[in-house]
């Protein structure tokens, strides 16, 4: 438990900052109001990071003029605490956000059966209510974090999975794969950036990974089914998803393909007719900006096919990246031999807990391959970035990196505004 409080101290989350802020508000609650915008209730495809960033941006002016403070929570909800005198401006800002999502049921059904886009509070009159809501949010975020930690323990994973809904069975998988053949998946394609992050925590985008969000796929197609509950059935599902992804990548009007991109496929997919079609339809120059990610167990399930197809795709210009390396697999797999262009290492607190030997192992890997070839992924806290920096890693991917991008964008926007004001 001690370590947990410690890590909380080290990394104040927005939830904890908000709780802290509300507690201090108690003394200044007079003449203040609070609005809670329930963006977490939006449909998944409206809840992408850029949407939330944009929504929060509507409060920017009020914040700059010192009229209020915004908190963007992990679940995408916004909390804006402001002075009563700017109530009209705040109402306008919320209406503008509402307008952006005007096709979402959260907006179209606002007011019906408990659906609510935003809740308004008077800090003085409703203080206890606000405190309770914020405490609840902070607690559920702590639980989520705890869950993230405990998910890494194999037995806990099994247990959690059993509790997380109907397990994936062959029958359910067959139903999902049938539904997949009809569903439009372009809504479920997500993008996460791989960034160079320096010690000042400034992110520079290198390329982005495109993937189909399994969580949203589940919500859309099979609510209540835990798709990850059986590893093997899930892997089979990924082969089906590979083909859908390739066909979306071929039709560039479906998803935007700007910049260098990476995507996950199975070795079997690269040998398929569908990949040949994809390759035929892609501009030769584009291949050099595409990175193919492969899972280690897939590589070793048919090593000869991998060796063949790796040569084939690299010769065409694609880059090949091994995904999902851990401390253990790092010691075991001779990556140099596999002829890879890049390696993705999973962030896990084990890397820090492993002490100097673990750090040395990663450090040697980075030195050997070159820092541009190693990416630390699933970085959901600053701890991950700090670890990376101590062992020489400069490229990162994950939720925390997405937050850094959002902050960086906000900072740039402010700077731009400031310059404009100065010019006028």
């Amino acid at each position: 438990m001690a370590t947990q409080t410690e890590s909380q101290k080290k990394l104040p989350s927005q939830e904890n900052l908000l709780l802290d802020y509300i507690r201090r508000l108690e003394k200044h609650k007079k003449g203040r109001k609070v609005v809670h915008v329930h963006l977490s209730k939006l449909r998944p495809f409206n809840r992408r990071d850029q949407h939330i960033r944009m929504a929060a941006g509507h409060f920017e002016k009020l914040i700059k003029d010192m009229h209020g403070q915004v908190f963007v929570l992990k679940n995408a909800d916004l909390f804006f605490i402001f002075k009563s005198q700017v109530l009209p401006q705040t109402e306008t800002a919320v209406r503008k956000i509402q307008f952006v999502f005007s096709d979402d049921p959260l907006v179209t059904e606002d007011g019906k059966d408990g659906v609510k886009f935003a809740t308004w509070y008077d800090a003085e009159k409703d203080f206890d209510k606000i405190l309770k809501v914020v405490q609840g949010l902070s607690k559920s975020e702590q639980n989520r974090k705890k869950e993230v930690r405990s998910r890494m323990d194999a037995r806990a994973v099994l247990k959690a999975k059993q509790e997380q809904g109907e397990p994936l069975t062959p029958e359910v998988l067959a139903r999902i794969e049938t539904a997949l053949s009809r569903a439009d998946l372009s809504n479920l394609v997500r993008r996460q950036f791989v960034c160079n992050v320096d010690r000042k925590m400034v992110p520079v985008q290198e390329f982005s990974e495109l993937f189909i969000s399994i969580k949203d796929l589940r919500e859309t197609l099979m609510p209540g089914v835990n798709m990850l509950s059986n590893r093997w059935l899930f892997r089979h599902l990924t082969e089906t998803l590979d083909l859908r992804m390739l066909s979306m990548l071929t039709k560039t009007d479906t998803i935007s393909l700007s910049g260098d991109i990476s995507f996950n496929v199975n070795v079997a997919t690269l040998l398929s007719r569908e990949f040949q079609n994809f390759d035929d339809n892609i501009a030769a120059g584009r291949r050099g900006s595409m990175i193919i990610e492969l899972q280690k167990e897939d590589i070793f399930s048919d090593l000869e096919s991998f060796l063949f197809v790796r040569e084939f795709v690299q010769e065409k210009g694609y880059k090949v990246c091994i995904d999902g390396l851990t401390l253990e697999s790092l010691q075991m797999i001779d990556r140099g031999r596999l002829g890879l262009d890049m390696s993705k290492l999973l962030w896990h607190p084990d890397l820090v807990d492993g002490g100097e030997p673990a750090m040395e192992l990663v450090r040697t890997m980075v030195k050997h391959d070159g820092p541009e070839k190693i990416i630390l992924i699933r970085c959901d806290s600053r701890e991950a970035i700090d670890f990376g920096h101590t062992v020489g890693i400069t490229r990162f991917q994950g939720r925390y990196v997405e937050t850094l991008i959002a902050e960086d964008n906000r900072r740039r926007e402010l700077l731009r505004l400031k310059r404009r004001i100065e010019r006028n």
Partner: protein, 420 residues
């Protein structure tokens, strides 16, 4: 020769064989052969595992640029060889393409270029404007054309065999099959294979007896029309159900003290399950006589769980074996880091072809040494040659059909104590 390509597709139904078309073109070229040459890519000489149709098709596509940009005709022969008839095509252009193909198969002995050797085994060239060379190339192709007839019959036979293997396993039929698997009578399908410690001076000791279900019998009983191996992932799923049945067979019989060690194949998930705890209670102190085999794909999918399962087994006295390695995988993996008691390598008949590749052999020997000679087992041994190969790389524990025969012939002699 774009017209020719179109002509091929147009006359698809009465399509001539590639060899015949090639010979026809050679006949036409003979009269005005100036500027013509041929390049013959000997993919028929690849290792069997590299001669897969989708590999060959991908290799063939490497020539697309030549066919599109130059006066060249491409033939994919029945024996998997590729032939290109070129007219005034810059030789350098072809070098690039041939190097691409070489790269694709760079793990194959065929593509190794020996600097002391004049001959490139992958590609041979003939200047068709030189009468002798034309004649020699013509006779090579004529021979292949004769051979092609036999190959086509064989291909037909293979196709039938493939059909006999059945429909691929899909989520749709998997549901039904896995239900049947849980209900089918299974005890009589249990088989065993011996792992033998072979002494250089002759004689041997039984290391363990591997107990397993005959997949052939099982398939006949639950899914005669399905190829259970068509998807590695769905097969793994089935194997988890099979584990439950395997453990149950043991739990249902009264256990007599084991004379020899036995080994069982299990998934990591099974070792961590309640079924295994029940099995462990039933085995009642005989853990030290048991070896649990786990597959490398399963291990790589979740190394953390493997570590957990391995420790759990070893603490209780079981020994752990890592299965599913091959001489090729050993070049990319260091099994010693898995801290298992045994490592099993499957012998492939091609291992012996790699005599020229002394470097590979030295590496495998080194891996065996690192893993600990006592822990390495060479499996799927079906000839005496395989045993010799194994002894050569430092292995002395063997398993396979040949070993079963060997053990049989030895069983007449007085039995020795089981090896540790």
């Amino acid at each position: 020769m774009a017209e020719l390509k179109n002509a091929q597709t147009m006359f698809e139904p009465t399509r001539q064989q590639a060899e015949e078309r090639l010979l026809e073109q050679l006949n036409r070229v003979e009269t005005s052969s100036h500027g013509y040459y041929s390049v013959h890519i000997h993919l028929s000489q690849l290792k069997h595992s590299n001669r897969q149709p989708h590999f060959i098709n991908i290799a063939a596509r490497a020539f697309d640029t030549i066919i599109d940009d130059f006066d060249a005709t491409f033939y994919q022969l029945s024996n998997k060889d590729l032939v290109l008839i070129c007219h005034e095509v810059p030789v350098d252009e072809l070098d690039t393409v041939i190097d691409k193909v070489r790269g694709l198969f760079n793990e194959d002995p065929l593509t190794i270029v020996d600097s002391e050797d004049f001959e490139d085994r992958l590609a041979t060239w003939h200047d068709l404007s030189v009468t002798e060379e034309f004649a020699s190339f013509y006779s090579i192709i004529a021979e292949i054309a004769v051979e092609a007839e036999r190959l086509r019959e064989e291909a037909k036979r293979l196709q039938n065999e493939q059909a006999e293997k059945g429909e691929p396993l899909t989520p749709f039929n998997l549901a039904e099959i896995s239900k049947k698997l849980m209900a089918v009578r299974i005890g009589d399908m249990m088989q065993e294979q011996i792992c033998l410690l072979v002494r250089t001076g002759g004689g041997g000791e039984i290391v363990f007896r591997e107990k397993y279900f005959s997949m052939n019998m099982l398939r006949k009983r639950i899914a005669p029309d399905t190829n259970l191996f068509s998807s590695p992932w769905l097969f793994q799923f089935l194997s988890e159900s099979l584990d439950k049945r395997l453990l149950n067979v043991f739990c249902e019989q009264d256990l007599e003290p084991l004379v020899d060690n036995i080994s069982l194949n299990l998934n990591i998930a099974t070792v961590l399950s309640k079924d295994f705890q029940k099995f462990h209670r039933h085995m009642d102190g005989q853990a030290s006589k048991m070896i649990i085999e786990m597959q490398i794909i399963d291990i790589l999918s979740d190394l953390k769980s493997f570590g957990y399962a391995r420790d759990l087994l070893q603490e209780r006295g079981y020994r752990v074996l890592v299965d599913g390695l091959s001489p090729v995988t050993l070049r990319f993996l260091m099994p010693a880091t898995l801290k298992s008691d045994f490592v099993k390598i499957s012998w492939v008949s091609e291992s012996e072809d790699e005599e020229e590749n002394a470097k590979n052999l030295a590496e495998i020997t080194e891996t065996v040494h690192q893993t600990g000679r006592e822990g390495v087992i060479l499996a799927r041994v079906d000839t005496e040659k395989a045993v010799k190969w194994g002894l050569g790389i430092g292995v002395s524990r063997f398993q396979g059909f040949f070993i079963d025969k060997l053990a049989e012939s030895m069983s007449s002699k007085p039995r020795k104590k089981a090896a540790k």
